[in-house]
């Protein structure tokens, strides 16, 4: 029986010729990731195992991004625990304030993931690297601990849903609108336990950054992973950042997919997920006047340079509406520097936005933009659960950078076309 892309990667890392959906396999890991929230629990468990050191100092990776720069003494203590651990075990890829970025933007940028890799991360958005043709998935801290100790993790081989993309996205429509559209269609458990595999001629029209955004939110549909077929764009992106040889897996012709969706990219409209689930999506024909208090542009989902460029195009020469706080967070130091050099930061500051150092901060209601009771935010982040960004009566509207920028200008949930015309 034919295998999906995901199944082929799992088979190769389990040392098997073939695997099938439902089979339990123990696979070798190319990278084991954690952050300042999840690593401390993993370190406690790692010490419980009694392992003398990590399985590979070049493959264990820790990024201080959630509550860093430290938001309080407890957060500082957690980062210190990670720092001490990485020093003790000579971990090569430890990223602290000044070198860190938001983990899922940082790892691809640093060339730490290549096509065909198996990556686990104690962060649910680890599924992001599927954009590069890797199998990557979020796990908990105990899996991270055991991965650090043994270099292995167990998986149930997933079945899959195929998304065949055709056509090209319209101006001011991006990967974020596409993934919100898909989650709106299949629901927050629409891909539960399964892979989402993205193929078709339409893939070529999506930038690597759009693909990173789409794969990033596969977890929001309950998926184990999201994965894109590798093409010339992927290869160029990876080769510019890594010398490692890689394998680009393609699904077999007779691979089994439980469902197949055909998606015409040209028909996707700017899409917003209303509170309190990412599946509560609406297009602007269904959105009335929704006044807002805050805009956040950033996160592992949409903190790439391309995202900032899209926001800057709309904010250039305009001002943030009175009563709205607009917070822009470049996802990495390199993105921050490029935004400074190319004048994006000037555009943002002149418009009345604040530009922050890289951090996950507000996305999860940690710091740098927490909401008060009853406040509303348009955010380019990935979750809009009850209390996600602050008070339990606050509301988060998930959207693209273009929608978020337009919303900042108009002080309400707004389409980029309202500001820029068609």
């Amino acid at each position: 029986m034919g295998m999906t892309m995901t199944q082929k990667i799992l088979a190769s890392h389990a040392g098997l010729d073939s695997v099938e959906a439902g089979q339990l396999v123990l696979v070798n890991l190319d990278r084991v990731l954690g952050n300042d929230i999840t690593s401390p629990v993993a370190i406690r468990e790692f010490e419980g195992i009694g392992a003398s050191t990590v399985y590979d100092k070049d493959k264990v990776t820790m990024v201080m991004d959630h509550f860093a720069p430290n938001k309080d003494i407890k957060a500082a203590t957690q980062c210190k625990m990670c720092r001490d651990f990485c020093e003790k075990h000579s971990v090569t890829h430890f990223y602290d304030v000044g070198r860190m970025g938001i983990e899922h933007a940082l790892l691809p940028e640093k060339g730490l993931v290549v096509p065909g890799d198996v990556v686990i991360g104690a962060d649910s958005h680890t599924c992001t690297y599927g954009a590069l043709g890797a199998f990557s998935t979020g796990v908990g801290s105990t899996d991270m601990a055991c991965g650090m100790a043994t270099g292995k993790a167990w998986f149930k081989v997933p079945s899959a849903i195929k998304f065949v993309l055709k056509g090209k996205l319209k101006k001011y429509v991006s990967g974020k609108d596409l993934i919100l559209h898909i989650i709106g269609k299949i629901g927050v458990d629409g891909a539960l336990y399964r892979s989402m595999e993205f193929v078709g001629e339409g893939v070529a029209s999506l930038t690597v950054y759009d693909r990173l955004t789409v794969a990033n939110m596969a977890i929001e549909a309950g998926a184990k992973n999201g994965i894109f077929e590798v093409d010339e764009q992927t290869a160029a992106y990876v080769k510019a950042r890594s010398d490692r040889e890689f394998v680009a897996y393609k699904a077999d012709e007779d691979a089994v997919y439980e469902e197949t969706y055909e998606i015409d990219l040209s028909a996707i409209e700017p899409t917003v997920a209303f509170p309190h689930l990412p599946e509560n999506t609406r297009t602007f024909d269904m959105i009335g006047e929704v006044k807002i208090d805050q805009v956040v542009i950033g996160s592992c989902t949409n903190g790439h340079y391309k995202d900032l460029e899209e926001a800057a195009e709309i904010l250039k020469g305009r001002t943030v509406a009175k009563g709205v706080r607009a917070i822009i967070i470049p996802a990495t130091q390199d993105i921050y520097m490029k935004a400074v050099e190319n004048g994006l930061v000037k555009i943002f500051v002149e418009a009345g936005c604040v530009v922050s150092t890289p951090t996950c901060g507000p996305c999860l209601g940690g710091h740098m933009g927490v909401l008060a009771a009853g406040e509303r935010a348009v955010a380019t982040t990935n979750r809009n659960f009850v209390g996600r960004m602050g008070h339990t009566t606050s509301e988060v509207y998930l959207a693209s950078p273009a929608v978020a920028a337009a919303s900042a200008v108009l002080g309400k949930v707004a389409s980029p076309y309202e500001v820029m015309g068609n």
Binding site: L24, L26, I37, T38, P40, V41, R44, E45, G48, I49, G50, H66, F67, K71, D72, K74, A75, Q78, G121, A122, D123, S124, T126, G138, V139, G140, S141, T142, D143, A145, C146, A149, T150, K152, W154, K156, V188, D189, L192, Y193, I219, G222, K224, L277, L364, G365, G366, V370, R383, F385, V386, G387, R388, T392
Partner: protein, 164 residues
């Protein structure tokens, strides 16, 4: 594995942000995490939960973040078992890895009300509602996962050499 307790019931898509809000993730202290368990959807949970109680919920329980703090908070609060129609996958594996008992059973969830007295025998694959007298069958775990559970979680399984 046998469990007896009173049911505490929630709906669909209970996410890890409401199980343990991110603002409390600046600690790994189990007791402190448990003291905020379910706070954002049910402020009364921590005051009324009793050791052995059984949490009952709908579809996609534990969706969202990979934070292991969520099953840790639930386990430490005294909940002995979570019965749901389905679990989000990371929450599912985290629960098995840390030794929080969980089981999927749609019929039981539909048939159990808040406060019902529940008995569950996961080895026999039976959930019994003492309050209504109704009985439900559950699917056994795959053998590999059963081994992890029997060894008290993933870390102990690795130490015992069950997983190499």
């Amino acid at each position: 594995m046998k469990f007896i307790g009173k049911s505490i019931k929630y709906g669909d898509n209970v996410d890890t942000d409401v199980i343990i809000p991110a603002r409390y993730l600046n600690t790994i202290d189990k007791k402190e995490l448990a003291s905020h368990c379910m706070e954002d959807i049910d402020k009364t949970f921590v005051t009324r939960v009793q050791a052995g109680d059984i949490m009952v919920a709908g579809n996609n329980f534990g969706c969202g973040s990979s934070r292991e703090h969520a099953p840790i908070a639930i386990k430490e609060s005294g909940i002995s078992l979570v019965i749901a129609k389905s679990f989000a996958r990371i929450f599912y594996r985290n629960s098995i890895n840390i030794g929080l008992a969980i089981v999927e059973c749609s019929e039981a969830v539909d048939g159990i009300k808040e406060g019902d007295e529940i008995e569950a025998d996961l080895d026999a694959g039976v959930i019994y509602n003492r309050t209504t007298g109704a009985q439900y069958k559950t699917q056994p775990f795959p053998a590999f996962i059963q081994k992890i559970i029997e060894n008290g979680g993933l870390v102990s399984s690795i130490k015992a050499g069950v997983i190499k």
